[in-house]
Symmetry: C2
Subunit: 157 residues, 2 copies
């Protein structure tokens, strides 16, 4: 038996805004869908690797294990990053933002990349142009691995 | 008369996943609430400054003007960051993630900070501890300005 039910219980957010924003109580504010966005950055380069979502269980497991867990909205399931690819993320630091509705993870990314498309970072395309209707995306970096070699026919993670 | 209606029209996301993830068409995927999350990082230090949301108008204006615009969920209104504080964000680069449902802005942050609480970054507290129910938040940096001196009684931005 594990104490999972206990360890996923975060304290509820305080009504007082100052307590929420400047206090020491960890009271993450999950959205109506039960999720909170989490940005993972590379601990060496500082580069954003991915933006994903966590439910309470995923955040609690990340805090507990030091390995990044998310909630896959497409699969509607807990998602231990790297479970099928081996591209785990060791979490060096977890931060919450002022109103505790966003998470920042500083991670050591295992393997050649965080992105299932084959890139180091999911943010591999920049916007070029100044008009919404005509702006384009252009690649900023080459792929670092071949996804089929890693995932086969499995779902990426 | 402006061409705002034109410039906020993004092309719809393609049905083909490979086109979405590896093509050159900018087709941001706004959520059911019409919003997309955007992480802003400091262009020098790489540090995440804030995570906020954009509607199509905010993203289009950011692309067009090179100054960060968001959508304030609390005020339910377009939010030009810095409008009341002077703490504007010049945008050096805009990136989209693989499935185009997240935005990354590399910005030059004007003024002493991005956070309305008085910090350089909204992510000024780290999680300490390994259990959800007992973990605490601890500050990582001192404030860089006094919010009352900047905002008075106005709504922060």
């Amino acid at each position: 038996m594990t104490n999972l039910s206990q360890s996923t219980s975060f304290a509820p957010p305080p009504a007082d805004k100052t307590a929420l924003e400047q206090g020491t109580a960890l009271t993450p504010r999950f959205g109506p869908d039960g999720l909170i966005p989490a940005i993972a950055t590379d601990h060496e380069s500082g580069m954003p690797l991915m933006l994903a979502y966590m439910n309470a269980e995923a955040l609690a497991l990340t805090i507990k294990t030091g390995v990044a867990h998310y909630y896959s909205r497409s699969r509607q399931a807990l998602w231990k990053k790297g479970a099928s690819s081996g591209h785990y993320q060791d979490v060096l630091e977890i931060r919450l933002d002022c109103d505790q509705d966003a998470v920042w993870l500083r991670v050591h990314q295992h393997g050649p990349g965080a992105c299932h498309v084959g890139h180091k970072s999911c943010f591999y395309r920049r916007v070029s142009g100044q008009d919404a209707s005509t702006a384009q995306l252009e690649e900023t970096a080459a792929k670092t691995y071949v996804p089929d070699d890693v995932y086969g026919k499995d779902q990426p993670s």
